[in-house]
């Protein structure tokens, strides 16, 4: 039943403003509802319903509910959470910096291809092992370079290893130096392959070329 309605009934009952029938009805109701009965007894002892303490209670309750909301916000941004957040942020920045640093360090070694590149064509096995100061790479890829080598060296079947060095000027190989073999014809063939129809990336080439029959 509506709270204000009950309160006004209690008020009328305690103040003697009710008809006898209504009083009896409320008493019958209260005899089966101890909550209502105790409340009536309480207001009787207080000599009636006073609105002031009830209004104050309403206000206190509203403030309490509001305060809880503020507490929640305070707790949400509490020093513990802020500390954890700060530590997490610092760790995130450190990890990101390490990753970026590592990536930047790795970049030149990737282009230098220190690990070596092995390209296998139907007839030739070509392995390129760049030195650390080499950043050269055929613009059309090592596959194409190997195919060109295959075309030019089709008459060679013996395994051979040579050191190749050259500079790259405007994408073209310049000042090609090949050591490790006395076969001048072979050297010329490799020079031709490096120069013919091949454009290069990077600035300096310095790699070991292992060529062998597959």
């Amino acid at each position: 039943m509506d709270n204000n309605y009950q309160l006004s009934r209690i008020h009328n009952y305690v103040a003697g403003l009710m008809s006898r029938e209504d009083m009896h009805a409320l008493e019958r109701e209260a005899i089966n509802d101890p909550f209502l009965q105790d409340a009536i007894d309480g207001y009787k002892l207080q000599n009636g319903v006073e609105t002031a303490p009830l209004s104050l209670l309403q206000k206190r309750l509203a403030e309490r509910i509001e305060q809880r909301g503020l507490e929640r916000n305070r707790r949400f941004f509490g020093w513990q959470r802020l500390t954890v957040g700060l530590v997490a942020a610092v760790m995130f920045v450190v990890v990101c910096s390490l990753l970026v640093f590592r990536h930047l360090q790795q970049k030149p070694t990737n282009s230098a291809q220190v690990e070596g590149i092995t390209i296998i064509t139907p007839a030739l096995r070509v392995q390129v092992v760049p030195e650390e100061n080499s950043d050269a790479r055929p613009l059309k890829g090592w596959d194409r370079f190997s195919q060109e080598l295959h075309k030019n060296l089709s008459s060679y079947t013996n395994a051979i290893s040579v050191d190749v060095q050259f500079d790259i000027v405007n994408g073209h190989a310049d000042d090609i130096r090949i050591s490790g073999t006395s076969d001048s014809h072979f050297v010329e063939k490799i020079k031709e392959t490096i120069q013919q129809e091949l454009l290069w990336e990077g600035e300096k080439a310095n790699f070991r070329l292992h060529i062998g029959a597959e």
Binding site: N3, P34, G42, I65
Partner: protein, 178 residues
Amino acid sequence: MDERTLLIRYRQTGNLQDLGELFTPYMSLLYGVCYKYLQDQYHSQDAVMQIFEELISKMRTHEVDNFKSWLYVYARNYCLMQLRKDKRQNSVPIDQHLTEAEAQLSVPDEVVWLEQDFEKLEVCLVGLIPEQEQCVRLFYLEKKCYKEIAAMTGFDLNKVKSYIQNGKRNLKLCMEKM
């Protein structure tokens, strides 16, 4: 939103707005109950607020089917505990209230009465002590209010209430035995 839904929602979310919505309709009744036991405006107000504070955690862990009954029992026990704690405020005889309140907690009977039930009632009514019989007859059968009964019998108002409550309980016990 009904009480049950609010209870479930509060248990799940802990949102104090929901608990406030549940609590507010009973606040004036609660104040009356607390005043009955504590007999002091400020203590009664504090008690109502303290009950609300305790409900914040209790309502999240207890499954309550009937909030009104639960709240009443909780509030009454809270006030009685306060009285026990502070003997100086013990201006109300606790034992008397306990007996009264326990007697009131019985659920009203809504069963269909047969012919023999009325015969039993008459026998049991006669078996009550005269004051109880007189007050019960006037209240239930003649629909007189406490004030009228007090005027007709010359009993004190509180006595009238007590005779009716105890008479009703004795009547019920007697009829169950027969």
